[in-house]
């Protein structure tokens, strides 16, 4: 089993095994395959995000790791111990759910102490630990309140404190921020990341929110249809998606449909686009898509640029606050368009308005080519 420790996560030498090893895990619900041969290493102390649309299997994988729903086949090892058939109570993790699942009839203090009391810890110690945790999540003095008296964000912190109370080796977060308002969510995102870094606890977070994943994760696992599409740091995933699916799922992306006309060149409408080596796998005449992020469309300093320079008309401009999103006319019969994000500065400097013409360049190193019948290619 080849491991690729090419990420920045702590690997502690190639001999040592990962904190959590997932090997060929599949999960069937009747005829439906929720997970298919998932193999993944999770390293000590990292925050890893399972990202994907609903139904992609990310929660199923989390529940298999927790032992809440056993995998159908495959093995899972935590610190070299085979936990594949071990019930959740004998694994070592804390978990926070989207609904928080706080016990409504117990006070904040009793909720947090729930796991401690069961361990026959003496009262004073429990009390001290609860205080410590409340301080950690910034909820000092809320001991005697019931969950119903707390705001969503506060409930989330209590749930986090409860999960951390027993000092588990691993923290599992199932869409922990999805039930919150946008403002609170952004704030908590930052706080949780801080907390995780301070405690150094290995954390797995499931989310469908790419922004959340990009901003919090050390590594992201992009999933679709029960399979892992790509694993990498947020930057890798964003900059170098390895499939059209990932390219489309993360961030905004232009998909220009065209044909390979010769090695290293794709014809899209009237444009002849020079691309880096990526076309080796394609034959002349193959249908492909050329991808570029809207912010990578270049407008300034085009004088020295020789390749991939085109003149285009602005079909439409959408004002989005800190920047504008322009729709450019690629030309040709297909009516293909190119989305480009321009700063307000640039809009002013180049006097860009609807109907105006301008020169743009598609930097060769920012282009990616995928087969056009590939999975996840947009319509």
């Amino acid at each position: 089993m080849a491991r690729k420790p090419k990420t920045k996560a702590k690997t502690k030498g190639s001999e040592q095994r990962a904190f959590l090893e997932i090997r060929d895990v599949s999960k069937m619900f009747g005829d439906f395959t929720a997970l298919q041969d998932v193999t993944l290493d999770i390293y000590d102390g990292e925050l890893i995000c399972f990202l994907g649309p609903s139904g992609c299997g990310k929660t199923t994988l989390l529940r298999a790791i927790a032992g809440l729903d056993y995998q159908t086949t495959g093995r899972i090892y935590q610190l070299e111990r085979d936990i594949s058939d071990v019930p959740p109570a004998n694994r070592d993790f804390g978990i926070v759910f989207q609904s928080y699942a706080l016990f409504p009839n117990l006070t904040v203090e009793k909720n947090i102490a729930y796991g401690l009391v069961n361990r026959k810890m003496d009262r004073a110690k429990v009390k001290a630990r609860v205080e410590e945790l409340l301080e950690l999540v910034g909820l000092e003095g809320s001991d005697d309140k019931y969950p119903a008296a707390l705001s969503g964000g506060q409930q989330q912190r209590v749930a986090l404190a409860r999960a951390l109370a027993t000092s588990p080796g691993m923290l599992l977060l199932d869409e922990p921020l999805s039930a919150l308002d946008a403002k609170v969510r952004e704030h908590l995102r930052h706080e949780m990341k801080e907390l995780q870094r301070t405690l150094g606890i290995t954390t797995i977070m499931v989310t469908h929110d790419q922004e959340e994943a990009l901003s919090m994760a050390d590594r992201i696992v992009v999933m679709s249809d029960g399979r892992i599409e790509q694993v990498g740091t947020p930057m890798e995933i964003y900059r170098n998606p390895t499939s059209a699916y990932v390219a489309d799922f993360i961030g905004a992306m232009n998909f220009l449909h065209g044909k390979v006309v010769r090695k290293g060149h794709v014809k899209v409408g009237k444009m002849d686009i020079a691309v880096n080596g990526g076309t080796d796998q394609f034959k002349t005449g193959d249908e492909v898509v050329v991808c570029i992020r809207p912010e990578d469309v270049a407008v300034r300093d085009l004088a020295q640029v020789k390749t991939n320079r085109y003149a285009m008309a602005i079909r439409d401009v959408e004002f989005l606050g800190s920047f504008c999103r322009a729709t450019l006319d690629v030309g040709g019969k297909t009516g293909e368009e190119l989305i480009a994000d321009f700063s307000i500065n640039l809009m002013r400097d180049f006097k860009l308005v609807r109907g105006a013409k301008l020169n743009i360049a598609l930097p060769k190193d920012r282009l990616q080519v995928f087969s056009s019948n590939g999975k996840g290619t947009p319509e």
Partner: protein, 575 residues
């Protein structure tokens, strides 16, 4: 082919074993709990019903005779006549009670008439009484010495008319409550839209109100039909020479000791019950879908003519309900109806007319108490395992299916099945026969489904991740169940206990074959007293039952209020 016949790949079964083994006490507790409850339902429902089925194809000596009993049954004109009679009564009662209940419920939900709460409380009175009570009251009112006999224009109350009036009284609360639910779940926006389009009220009624409530109405009709066709107390008391299926079973078994024929009639009675059960399950599913839509609640606006008309109707209905109850109460206190109207308590001296008089009441209290306490524990655990259990999905589904079935089995049929199953000396459980325990078990099974569904609804509202959280904190599920689920479910637990208690106090049909002299119940005493002509005493005993039920209900109300106050800090919704 059962699950055991399917070859299991070796790896898979060993994995399953490893998981069960690793699960320790918790996994075994779950498996044990589900298995125990399945075995109990099989032993106390499925096997007795099988014994009934077997009996129907045997002669008196236990020889297999195929369908001879059925041939004999259908050859008998008198017995077949009962089928027609039963269906006629059930269908007519269904139409009458549904119409009355719909109008009543309409008044409660769609008008601005006053005293809604009062009307609602009055409408639930019949639940607290055994079905024998309205029949006895009607005899006082319209019988041979009845004060209002003239209103019948020469028709006799002993027969279909009496059965129907008494049945309408008895089933009214059940039908009315379903109608209220059906009419409460309408979306106000539909009415606003209709109003905006300037639609005539009559058209609104037929295009919006009725379609919205249709599932509820069908469900109410089915309930009315089943309750009527399976009830035994009413036709027994007031049926006279008019035979129906329910009284036939009793006559065949108790009167003629013809058990095989009793079994045949029981099976015949099972058919309409199962049929309406199937319709109801089907309709219920659709009703749920209708409910889940996010609707804006409807608030009626005052409308003088409509409000007055419905107020008058509800008053009349209340007079009818209170009148029936009041008649029985009155009759129990007068010396000799209608000749000597002086007040007396003599009729409450039950021991003077029946050696098991008062003792039967205490038997009933004991039986109802055990039924409520033991029943609620089993029902809660069962519902918890079905809803919150984390493994053994197939076993849990099987149990849920078994738990729904008792609703389809009429009490008389269940009681008779118990006789066939438990009275056989070879059955190791036959020691049970004739004890109070068998009455408790039979009553729990008889009323299992409604209680199970009530509990399930309460548990469904609890976050489904509590078990996962508690597992992650290494707290066993049963501890979390006691610390969290039980406190949250207290309102439902209290509801189910009251439901079981009141039904155990009033039921006749399931236990009429099962009591022994030592375990005679109050409702049975009512039946016996009426049988031998001690009508005033019968009315008095029925009133004792009503008084007990009312007391329990008041206690329940107080308890709920106390709970709500004590838990107001976290209980946002009141039970």
């Amino acid at each position: 082919m059962s699950a055991a016949d399917i070859p299991v790949p070796k790896g898979e079964s060993s994995t399953r074993w490893a998981r069960l083994h690793n699960g320790g006490v918790e996994a075994w507790a779950l498996l044990g709990g589900v298995s125990a409850i399945i075995i109990a339902l099989v032993a106390f429902m499925a096997l007795p019903l099988y014994a009934l089925l077997k009996k129907s194809v045997e002669d008196d000596k236990g020889n297999f005779v195929g369908l001879d009993n059925f041939a004999e049954y259908f050859a008998s004109v008198g017995l077949v006549q009962s089928i027609t009679n039963s269906l006629t009564i059930a269908l007519l009662t269904m139409v009458i009670s549904c119409t009355l209940a719909f109008i009543f419920a309409y008044g409660l939900t769609r008008t601005c008439m006053p005293f809604k709460r009062g009307f609602r409380a009055i409408a639930t009175i019949p639940i607290l009484a055994p079905s024998l009570l309205p029949a006895i009251s009607l005899i006082y009112l319209f019988g041979n010495q009845g004060i209002m006999k003239g209103l019948l224009f020469g028709e006799s109350i002993y027969g279909p008319i009496g059965i129907m009036i008494a049945m309408v009284f008895y089933i009214f609360p059940h039908v009315m409550m379903i109608m209220v639910t059906a009419l409460s779940t309408t979306d106000a926006r539909l009415y606003e839209a209709a109003e905006a389009l300037d639609t005539k009220p009559v058209r609104v009624f037929f295009t919006v109100t009725l379609p919205g409530a249709i599932y509820g109405i069908v469900s109410a009709a089915v309930v009315a039909f089943t309750l009527t066709i399976t009830d035994f107390g009413v036709p027994k008391v007031i049926g006279g020479q008019y035979n129906v299926l329910a009284t036939d079973i009793y006559k065949q078994v108790v009167g003629q000791q013809n058990f095989s024929m009793g079994a045949v009639v029981g099976l015949v009675l099972l058919i309409p019950a199962v049929f309406s059960f199937t319709i109801d399950r089907h309709v219920q599913k659709k009703q749920v879908a209708l409910l889940s839509a996010r609707a804006v609640p409807y608030h009626p606006k005052p409308h003088k003519t409509r409000d007055t008309a419905l107020l008058i109707f509800c008053i009349m209905m209340s007079v009818f309900l209170i009148g029936i109850l009041g008649m029985a109460a009155f009759a129990s206190f007068v010396t000799f109806w209608p000749y000597d109207m002086s007040f007396t308590l003599a009729h409450y001296d039950f021991d003077a007319v029946d050696p098991n008089g008062w003792s039967s009441f205490f038997n009933s209290l004991k039986m109802a108490g055990f039924t409520a306490v033991i029943g609620v524990i089993i029902i809660f655990l069962g519902a918890y395992l079905v809803e919150k259990g984390q493994s053994f999905p197939k076993l849990r589904a099987l149990f849920h299916m078994l738990a729904i079935l008792p609703m389809a089995v009429p009490g008389l049929v269940l009681g008779l099945a118990y006789v066939f199953f438990f009275s056989v000396p070879e059955n190791p459980l036959s020691a049970f026969y004739g004890t109070l325990a068998i009455l408790v078990v039979c009553t729990i099974v008889h009323f299992y489904t409604v209680s199970h569904l009530t509990m399930l609804t309460a548990l469904k509202q609890i976050d489904k991740e509590f078990e996962s959280v508690s597992a992650s904190l290494q707290v066993p599920f049963y501890k979390t169940m006691m610390k969290v689920h039980v406190p949250i479910c207290l309102p439902a637990i209290s509801d189910v206990m009251m439901y079981l208690f009141v039904n155990a106090m009033t039921t006749v049909s399931a236990v009429v074959f099962l009591y022994s002299p030592d375990t005679k119940l109050a409702a049975i005493t009512v039946l016996n007293l009426d049988d031998v002509g001690d009508q005033a005493e019968a009315a008095a005993m029925a009133m004792v039952i009503v008084a007990t039920s009312i007391t329990v209900r008041l206690l329940h109300g107080l308890l709920m209020r106390g709970l709500n106050r004590r838990h107001s800090a976290w209980r946002t919704r009141s039970g």
